[in-house]
Symmetry: C2
Subunit: 280 residues, 2 copies
Amino acid sequence: MELWYTEKHTPNSGLTIKVKQTIYKEKTEYQNLDIIDTEDFGKMMLLDGLVMLSEKDEFVYHEMLAHPSLYTHPDPKKVLIIGGGDGGTLREVVRHPSVEHAVLVEIDGEVIAASKQYFPQVALGFNSNKAKVIVGDGIKYVSQTDDSYDLILIDSTDPVGPAEGLFSPDFYRNCHRILTDDGILTTQSETPFIDSFSRILPQVVANFKTLFPVTSLYLAAIPTYPSGLWSFTMGSKKNCPIKDFQQARFAEDSLKLNYYNDSLHKAAFSLPNFVQEMLR
Amino acid sequence: MELWYTEKHTPNSGLTIKVKQTIYKEKTEYQNLDIIDTEDFGKMMLLDGLVMLSEKDEFVYHEMLAHPSLYTHPDPKKVLIIGGGDGGTLREVVRHPSVEHAVLVEIDGEVIAASKQYFPQVALGFNSNKAKVIVGDGIKYVSQTDDSYDLILIDSTDPVGPAEGLFSPDFYRNCHRILTDDGILTTQSETPFIDSFSRILPQVVANFKTLFPVTSLYLAAIPTYPSGLWSFTMGSKKNCPIKDFQQARFAEDSLKLNYYNDSLHKAAFSLPNFVQEMLR
């Protein structure tokens, strides 16, 4: 018997993938968590039936959520990750010598446990002594904490279910509040290509613009995400990702990465005309 | 009854799309030609079961095959298109005021006829008085012609079936032969993301390097193509797409485009590390 998993990106199209084996299946307090093994993409984690990550292409998403902001801020010491329970974004953050503390607030502890067990190469960041994990509600955390951060990365699922509040103006305002004077807030902001998703992107950018003098959208290619083209929105209190790119630190750190590099950092902010049009 | 069309990108994964209606179905002398209407991507043309174009995202492929070379060459007057029977690449080429003659050599006349009938917005280029269409074998054409060209664009399907010879060193050598002294040859070169495709890309680049002093790979996001990330290889006898980008002409022409712009021109040549690695 052949098993196929199809993620419908809309009611009318999707990605279909042959499944070698279902590895894990759990209904957590917050969502359905499935782990499957596939021929083409290796092991994949699904939340509520949507691809969260695959072994094959997780490097793109995690590198591109983390490094553009880390190399825009002049000296990021304290980093907060909201969501990202698989640990991939944390893995990228703690690689930076400048980073001293990385706090990850994930609502669903079972995502963390499953990633540690089935995706040890993704969950690597949890082993770092710079890392602190809080299992709890990120929305509540940013509204209550007295800590401040140089950088906040929002590593959320789509804005339905547990992640809905992670796209709200209130949440962004609280993130802005706990950022230092040259702080940066970056979130995944869905794909510009598919209508039901691309309605979200201009809203995120518009919300960021009410808070941050420098708001920039950038793109990366992620095959297992809808349309294969994904967007990220960066709000910065002071530094511009192009003008203030930390070339010297990038060269000095010399991280071994699979997607991100200095040339690509700048290129990612060059937007196709139809995306620029969406932001007008 | 719901009809779904699935293009398997490998035996183990693919894109699945709900079909509103099958519009046209023909076994031509060279291939199976199908046209379907879909909710998400509008009308689509399939050759031997593979997506050739969709109304939704054809602009990316056609703009990105044509404009980077046209704005690298200092004064492209004569352009040859091999394949591209839908007319989309031709449409982009004849938009350029500098272009005086555009010759399209397509082996399958039924592709041209079907595009004119069902994709009039793509087939627009055929109406230009700069355009000349030859229904014939592009491989034979470049091996025999005495004409010379400033620019050759290879707008082929995958290297199986009728397009196989369009990836051969002999064919590239003949293209090089009929290019002017500052001529440019550009071809689509498949996706770097999926193994069965990504074996092709380094071969194309290596072949181009034996012929052209300036060989460059660039990328664009095309949702209906496998992985959503597509590559193009440009071989140039003289001009560098970055250093010699024709900014003044780009500004003067001021073409109304949906994807390509001057900033993106340069950005497209910034390659992710894993793609750079494939070329080593």
